[in-house]
């Protein structure tokens, strides 16, 4: 007797099989179906974990037969700007950049009205931001900082001089483009947003539409 009942004894192998349809395990509590795990015959035999009672609906974990894993419901977002904003900092104002256009926002955790991402669960989030900053010439900031600010701490991504201090410090469209990223620990409900702070001059610095973005995803 090399195989035994898996319920009240043990076995080393448990198989599910069918003629042409899915082979799966259904996890339920008090007859309420919670998750189904197995092979989706209608999706090239991908291995899936789906919420509910059907592979192919609410697929949360999809591993194809080549080993590619996707998590279709994993929190992730990428947001850019539709228009530049003028005269927002330079005098020490801490300006929160509102990236108002969502290229994607899985889980709807990013608010494009105020630029704030709210963590849906405890975890570590990869956050990345790019800033195109147009500095005021002569009267503008002497330096500027780019942050990602979270509930737990501020991550200074960049710290550079302004044109008031270094006249010819600018690139395409008279901007300086800075980028940065961090793997930040956030608890559920913690927030993150993108900030520029120009200091030492008049409030004549602009955030330029050109490639400014904020993005992120739940990493682990």
């Amino acid at each position: 007797m090399t195989t035994q009942n898996s319920i009240n004894r043990m076995t080393s192998v448990l198989k599910t099989d069918s003629i042409a349809s899915d082979g799966y395990e259904q996890f339920s509590i008090a007859t309420v179906n919670k998750y189904r795990m197995g092979i989706d015959a209608d999706d090239s035999d991908s291995f899936k974990i789906a919420y509910g009672s059907s592979l192919g609906v609410n697929d949360y974990f999809v591993m194809d037969t080549d080993g590619n894993l996707t998590l279709p419901y994993q929190p992730a977002f990428f947001a850019t700007m539709t228009t530049s904003v003028s005269s927002v900092t330079g005098d020490g104002t801490v300006y929160t950049i509102i990236q108002d256009v969502e290229k994607y926002d899985v889980g709807a955790n990013y608010n494009n009205a105020n630029g704030i991402f709210t963590a849906p669960v405890d975890g570590y989030y990869f956050l990345s931001a790019a800033l195109a900053y147009q500095m005021g010439f002569i009267t503008g900031a002497t330096y500027f900082l780019q942050y990602i600010k979270t509930t737990k701490r501020n991550y200074v991504l960049n710290n550079l001089p302004g044109r008031k201090r270094v006249n010819n410090f600018y690139a395409v469209t008279n901007t300086i483009k800075t980028v940065g990223s961090v793997i930040a620990n956030m608890d559920a409900g913690d927030t993150a947003y993108h900030v520029v702070e120009g200091v030492g001059g008049l409030k004549n610095g602009n955030v330029y539409i050109y490639t400014t973005f904020l993005s992120g995803f739940l990493a682990t």
């Binding site: 009942n5 198989k15 990869f126 330096y143 991550y155 960049n158 550079l160 793997i183 990493a219």
Partner: protein, 244 residues
């Protein structure tokens, strides 16, 4: 309790067998599906054992918002390694990951071309204890692809480096981040705290036992070792995690 649940499983599966004509034994014959249900409130899970010792458990945790879990233990909720919430949010609570920062400014560490190994002494998190905050070195616990990023506040002294660059070294590669001139060669090229920030991010392959650490290099002709790296929460940091 466990025996009770398994007994419940037995009766429920027996009932299912009768219902679907199927005295089809899922072990020595085959069936399309296996339903795991305690029949009442409680976890529904499958336990993987070796020589009667539970190694991994997998199923629905009735105690935590009905998340689907894989746990490195006999019971869901203990040593969870994979959690998928009802909304599809997946976390890996024990995945190798670290984030650390330099708490105190270090003075006169480069500027003359020295590649200064930054020791990020304050650990925010270090799952797996793979980062050494006494040496600044991360050691890969398993073969895979890792993502790292870092930031550093660099302060150049009067006779210090004319340029500064960001460099990460692993056992099988050297990766560069940003590089800038300093105030020494381009007057006024500094920001807050008379510093500039240099940073970098890299996705790289590592074998188990390979190491990764950060160096900051300030240098240039006729320079001396008078440059500093600014400390504090969270100006100069280093982090990374196992991606896949």
């Amino acid at each position: 309790m466990e025996m009770f649940i398994f007994t419940q499983h037995f009766y429920r599966v027996s009932w299912l067998h009768r219902k679907i004509m199927a005295t089809i034994n899922s072990i020595n014959k085959l069936t399309q599906n296996l339903t795991v249900d305690p029949g009442v409130a409680g976890d529904a899970y499958i336990q993987h054992r070796r020589v009667s010792t539970p190694v991994f458990s997998m199923g629905v945790d009735d105690d935590a918002g009905d998340s689907f879990k894989i746990s490195h233990s006999a019971a869901l909720g203990t040593s969870d390694v994979f959690i998928m919430t009802q909304n599809g949010e997946r976390t890996l609570p024990l995945q190798s990951l670290f984030l650390a920062y330099l708490s105190t400014t270090v003075n006169n560490v480069t500027g003359d071309g020295t590649g200064y190994v930054v020791i990020y002494d304050t650990v925010i998190k270090d799952y797996g204890s793979d980062y050494n905050n006494a040496t600044g070195v991360f050691t890969a616990p398993t073969t895979g692809r890792y993502y790292f990023n870092n930031n550093a506040y660099y302060l150049s002294g009067v006779t210090g480096g004319t340029h500064v660059l960001d460099r990460m070294a692993t056992s099988n590669g050297v990766y560069y981040g940003s590089a800038f001139p300093t105030n020494e060669i381009l007057p006024g090229f500094y920001g807050y705290q008379n510093a500039v920030v240099i940073n970098g991010g890299i996705f790289c392959d590592m074998d188990a036992g390979d190491t990764a650490y950060m160096t900051i290099v300030g240098g240039g002709t006729g320079t001396s070792k008078v440059d500093d790296i600014y400390g504090g929460n969270c100006y100069t940091w280093f982090g990374g995690y196992l991606v896949c």
